[in-house]
Symmetry: C2
Subunit: 427 residues, 2 copies
Amino acid sequence: MKTVRIGLFGCGVVGSELCRLVRDTRDLFERRDGIRFEIAAVGVAHPGKPRPEWVPADRIVAGWNAVAAMPGIDVVVELIGGTGDAKDAVFDSLGRCRHTVTANKALLAQSGVELTRLAASKGCGLCFEAAVGGGVPVIASVAETLNANRFHRVAGIVNGTTNFILTRMKEEGMGYDQALLLAQERGFAEPDASFDVEGTDAAQKLSILAALAFGAGIPAHEIYTEGITRVTAQDMALVAGFDYVIKLLAIGRRTPHGVELRVHPALVNSRHPLAAVRDEFNAFFLTGDVTGEVMLYGKGAGPSPAAGAVLSDVARLARREGTSWFDRQWTYDDIEHVPIGDVETGYYMIFPVVDKPGVIGRIASTLGSYGINIESAHAHLPEPRNGHGLVQIISHRARERDVRGALKAVRDLPVLTGEAWFYRIEE
Amino acid sequence: MKTVRIGLFGCGVVGSELCRLVRDTRDLFERRDGIRFEIAAVGVAHPGKPRPEWVPADRIVAGWNAVAAMPGIDVVVELIGGTGDAKDAVFDSLGRCRHTVTANKALLAQSGVELTRLAASKGCGLCFEAAVGGGVPVIASVAETLNANRFHRVAGIVNGTTNFILTRMKEEGMGYDQALLLAQERGFAEPDASFDVEGTDAAQKLSILAALAFGAGIPAHEIYTEGITRVTAQDMALVAGFDYVIKLLAIGRRTPHGVELRVHPALVNSRHPLAAVRDEFNAFFLTGDVTGEVMLYGKGAGPSPAAGAVLSDVARLARREGTSWFDRQWTYDDIEHVPIGDVETGYYMIFPVVDKPGVIGRIASTLGSYGINIESAHAHLPEPRNGHGLVQIISHRARERDVRGALKAVRDLPVLTGEAWFYRIEE
C-alpha cells in the first residue's frame, strides 16, 4: 500500500468535498490502485470557522504557507482560487518540486505557460482536470487518450450558466433578464453573473484547451470574447426559422494562418449534437486528424465532480512517480494568433428597416460591394404591418473585417431604422 | 529520446494504418513526449501480399510466433482479431511479460478475466482503448479520469451499424431490410451483418465496460442480447407519438441485487441526448456517484480512430515503465449477475386486437392481475376502420418476468388477432 499525503490549500466547497471523497473512496482506491490518500494538512484563511465533520480538524493550519513549509507532503492541491494567493501558492509549490493539482482556471489561463515550464524544469507534475468541464474528462482526453491527433478544432458549450439562460430563452420564450433571474434562483448563476455572462469563464477554459490541443500559449485576456447579454428572445425565434439555435460557444481552430480563438454567441444547426445540449450542461467538441469528431458531454460544474477530478489527478500523479513523464508535459508552438478581423465564417445579419420595396436589394448590393456572398435574404414583417420590418441575411463564408465594414456602410443607407447586428454561424 | 519498439501481430486495415501513423506522428510524439516509435516486426499470415508503402517491407515476417520470439520488442500490438490465433498470441505475449495492446473486443469479452489476471501476475500492461468505441476515449475515462466514482450505470449506443439502420428507419420511414441494404452500400454494414444486427458486437463491448465500471467479470455470451431485426418502421412511427425513439442500447446497471447487463432495442425520450445520436455515431452514457452523468460521443469505428487509440495505448504503456501500475489494473468483484426476468424497467407493449369496445379494459385487467401498473393505454385504429387495431400500453416500472407472464395470459383473450410484442423503456 502506497500512502499519498495531500497538502490542501484552501477549504471551500470543493476542498471540503475532497476531504469527504478521500474518506468515502478509501476502499475503492486501496483495493483497486493500492493507494491510500491522507489529508496531511489543510491551510485556510480562517482556521476557526466551523467545517463539516469529514474535514480533519486536527490538520487545519493558518494559511497556505504553513502547509507549503511542511515536510512529507506528496501532492499539493490548490483550491484557493483566483490569481492572488493562489498564484503565489502554486508557484511556491512547483518551486519546491512538489507535484501540484489545481482546479484554478483563472490562474492557468493567465500564467499557464510559466507554470507548466516551471513544473517541467523542476521535474514535477501539474495536473488540472477539474479546471475545465468539472467532471467531464476533457483534459485527459485531449492530452493523453487522443494524443495521436493533430487537432483542427476544439469547440464547445463550456459554460453552464449561459447555456441554462439561453435554453430557457429558447424553450420558454423568456427574455434575457428573466432567464438570468431564474438561473440565479436555481443556483446556476452568481448574484453578480458578469464573469459567466460576459464570456470570461469560457475564454479562460478556451485558453487552457488551446494550450493542450494546439500548443498555443495564449492567455485568456487576449481571446476575443463576447457574452450573451445582447441576445434576445426575438433573435432566438428568428433563427429557429432557419433551423438554428443560439449557443455561447468557445471556439479554437487551427488554420493555415495560425490559431483562431474566440468566445461568442453563435448559430448552431438544430440537428448538430451541440444544439441538443440543454440547460446547465457542457459539451466539448474535439476534431482531430486521426480520430475525427468526438464530443464529451456532462455537467461542467459542481463541487462533487470537481473534487472527483482533483482526486483522480492526485492518483495520476502518485502512479507516475518514477517515470520521465514529468519533464515532458507540454510543448508550446510558436503559433500565430489570428485576429478576429481575419476570421472567416458564415454570418447571419439582422437589419431593422422600413417596410418598402427595394430594401433587400440595396442592402444586398452594399454587402456585395464588400465581397460578401449572400446565401439567402429574407424579409420579416410584423402583422399587422406597421411600416417597419427586419431584413435577415445569411452569408457564405466571409471575413469578419469585411462584414464589419459592410455593416458600417449599410448604416448610411436611408432604409435602416436602427443599428444592424449579427451572429456568426458555426458549421 | 526513448525508442519504443513495436511488435505487430496482424496487418489488416488497422495494422496498416498504425504503420502510417507511426510514420506521420513522429514529430508529434518525439517533440512532446520524447518517444520514438519503431515498427520492429510485423507478423502476418501472408508475407507476400502487397501492402502500402508505409508498412516497412523489411520488417514483415511469417506468423505472429516469429515476432513473439524476437528479442528487444517493447510493446506487442495484437490486431489479428477473433479468438483463434489472436487468443494464443495475446496469452503468449503476456506470458512472456510483454506489454500488450489489443483492439480485440471478442477476445476481451470472452477471456478478459484470465487475460487481466495474467497481465497483473506478470507485472505487465494490457491496454485496449481501441476495443470499445473506436476513437471515443471511453476506456481511459472509465478506468482513470473518472476513477473516484462508483458507477451506477454505463449505457449507450455502442454499435454504429445498427444506429445507422435505426436512424434511416426513423427519419425516412424505411423498412428494416431497405435500411440494412443502404448501410451495406455505404460500408457501415458487412455483407453478413448478423454480428452487428443481432447485438453480439454490443454485448462484447458491454462485457468490457462492465468489467471496468463494476468489476464484473461476465463474458459476452452470458449477457442478455436482442438485436434490431424485428424493429419495424411502424413501431418507429408509433413510439414517436409518445415522444420516444427506438435505439439499440447496451445497458449495464449496478442494483442492490447485483449487476444487470442487457443489449436490446429500447425506447429513449426524444429529448434525451442519446436520442440525438444519429447514423453511425456512438455514445456512451456513464453515471457515477461523484461525477453524475457524462456522455462521450463520436464515430465508434474506422481504421484511423482505432489506430490512433492503439498508438495512444502504446505511449501510455511506454510512459508507465518503472511504475507499480502494472500489477494493479483490475479488480473483479464477486458480484451477482441479475437474470433478465428480474430486471425492472418501464415497458411499452403493443397488442394487435379486434376493433371492439372493452378491449383495452380486458387487456388492462389481465396486466393488473400480474401486478403491472399501467401509466397509459391507447387505441390505434386505422382509417378507414377495418375491424382491426392496435392497443398500446405504457407501464410503470415492472418486473420482466411478470410482463412476460402477463403477455402469455393476454394471448388467451379472445380479443387478440396476433402475438403481442414490447419494448423496454430506458429513463
